[in-house]
């Protein structure tokens, strides 16, 4: 069992409240997944800048002096904003790959949670309430976001085993369920050049979508392929820089409820996750159909 929440805003006036709305939604799903929690939030894509979100088990040591050392390595002014165990590094987009390489040289213990123009990922073990509090998620603004509360089944309770998983620029995936062909698929994806950080089944699903989109598919098309290529139980909610998608396997035993108004599209593992949203009483509320791709784009 796990809990998923997602919110894709149509009404720009709600953007300053995205973090607050997502935090409330996430905490309602605590009893579906008290092991760990995570959130991916999309926002603040600005001009020629890109962002890398990193995590460190020893943030005091790793983040100290990081900005100066990265600036020296890149010959370029950048910013590093530390938030508890995570830090968001903002740098020119054309320095993104160089920055990632410099990071792994300078701080080999640092893990990259996400990189891209708009995405930031924060995830840790612990209760969802504590996780959103330590990162100040309620104060974040954005266009869309996805959250996950985890009750681990397929791999250990660790920061890296928490969701969301990001395997490509501005991409993320959260998963409720368990995949049965992930080992084989991971092997095939490794042959295609994908890299994996964990033994987690959900990371394989994320990498599968990344690999398919790298072949030129859009998110919706990549999700269509997942219906045939992924074996097991899943409800996925996925994000891209401008898109938001939902897919359930053909058996559809993992719960899902969606709501749509003129202001937003929202996803919850249960209706409880949606009750705090504005205008929910008048929203169109429905259960997504099995093996059917749902996909919205800004």
């Amino acid at each position: 069992m796990c809990g998923i929440v997602g919110l894709f805003l149509k009404d720009k006036s709600l953007e300053p409240k995205l973090g607050e709305m997502l935090s409330t939604m996430l905490v309602t799903m605590t009893d579906r997944g008290p092991d760990s929690a995570g959130i991916a939030i999309y926002g603040g894509a600005a001009g020629s800048e890109a962002k890398i979100t990193v995590q460190s088990p020893t943030p005091a040591k790793d983040f100290a002096g990081l900005q100066a050392e990265l600036e020296q390595a890149l010959g370029q002014a950048i910013s590093v904003e530390a938030k508890s165990t995570h830090a968001v590094i903002t740098l020119p987009r054309d320095k993104l790959e160089e920055g990632r390489a410099a990071l792994s040289e300078l701080r080999p213990d640092i893990r990259i949670m996400s990189s891209g123009d708009a995405i930031e990922i924060y995830k840790e073990t612990g209760l969802p309430r504590d996780v959103v509090q330590r990162f100040g998620v309620a104060g974040m603004s954005g266009t869309h976001g996805i959250g996950h509360t985890r009750m681990a089944t397929e791999s250990a309770v660790t920061t890296l085993g928490a969701h969301p998983f990001s395997t490509g620029s501005d991409q993320c995936l959260v998963h409720n369920g368990s995949l049965s062909n992930h080992n084989n698929l991971r092997r095939e994806l490794k042959h295609q050049g994908m890299r994996f950080e964990t033994e987690n089944d959900s990371e394989v699903a994320a990498a599968y979508l990344t690999a398919e989109m790298a072949k030129g598919k859009n998110l919706g098309e990549a999700l269509e392929g997942a219906v045939d290529d992924l074996d097991g139980f899943f409800t996925f909610v996925v994000g891209t820089k401008s898109g938001f998608g939902v897919l359930r396997d053909a058996i559809a035993c993992k719960p899902a409820v969606m709501a749509e108004t003129d202001q937003y599209v929202a996803f919850g593992s249960e209706y409880r996750a949606l009750v705090s949203l504005p205008g929910i009483e008048a929203a169109r509320v429905w259960e997504p159909e099995p093996a059917t791709v749902y996909f919205w784009e800004h």
């Binding site: 053909a250 719960p255 996750a273 259960e287």
Partner: protein, 228 residues
């Protein structure tokens, strides 16, 4: 009429009050407001009370119900009326997966659509769905009646035993050992009774098709009796 506001009252207080209704009590009408998707609302009631739930509920609303009449003025999450024994549950909106699972008696009416596995392993309940039902409905259904005014999804009635299924719309596919069967006068009478009991007056029994077990699976062959 006692009213429980679940925005301020713990769910346990509501369920305890419902379990404490003494025989001969005159206070037999309860109202529940602000359920906000709560689980296990009005579970395990065993008294002839009427309960109006104003809003959407989560998992297992009215589970194990005996004698109570529960009306959900909203939609229900997974497992509404699971293992109900008697009484009536009416869902004014939609119901999520496995509505009426394993239920032994009484009537479950869903005025909207029901999701997958509606009536899975039902054991005597009557389920009437005004809308459509999802895949794998009435899987291993043993007894009772499933009446669907709309359409049925894939694998309807897979591994069915003695339950009877009536569908007015289309059936996407039939499950293993489930076959269309002739609608005889006694079935039309049965269906008319069920529709009347569910308060449905705008459709006729003749508009439905009947489905049931072909009784060809290995469980039906006496040669396999000592396999268990």
């Amino acid at each position: 009429m006692p009213t429980f506001d679940l925005a301020i009252t713990p769910l346990r207080d509501l369920n305890q009050a419902l379990h404490d209704v003494a025989p001969g009590s005159n206070d037999l009408h309860f109202e529940v407001i602000n359920p906000r998707g709560s689980h296990a609302v009005a579970c395990g009631v065993s008294a002839p009370v009427a309960i109006d739930v104003q809003g959407n509920v989560g998992y297992y609303c009215g589970g194990m119900n005996e004698d109570a009449t529960i009306t959900i003025h909203g939609s229900a999450g997974p497992g509404v009326g699971e293992n109900m024994m008697s009484g009536t549950i009416v869902v004014k909106g939609d119901a999520s997966q496995y509505a009426g699972a394993t239920a032994c008696g009484g009537m479950l009416v869903i005025e909207g659509n029901a999701s997958s596995r509606c009536g899975i392993s039902m054991k005597g309940v009557d389920i009437v769905v005004r809308g459509s039902i999802g895949h794998m409905s009435a899987f291993m259904a043993q007894a009772g009646n499933l009446v669907v005014l709309g359409d049925a999804g894939d694998a309807l009635g897979d591994s069915l035993y003695e339950a009877k299924i009536f569908v007015r719309g289309s059936v996407k596919s039939l499950g293993a050992d489930c076959i269309p069967k002739a609608m005889k006068p006694k079935h039309l009478e049965r269906l008319a009774r069920l529709l009347e009991k569910a308060g449905i007056t705008d459709v006729k029994p003749e508009e439905f098709k009947r489905y049931g077990s072909a009784r060809k699976l290995y469980t039906f062959h006496v040669d396999n009796a000592d396999a268990y």
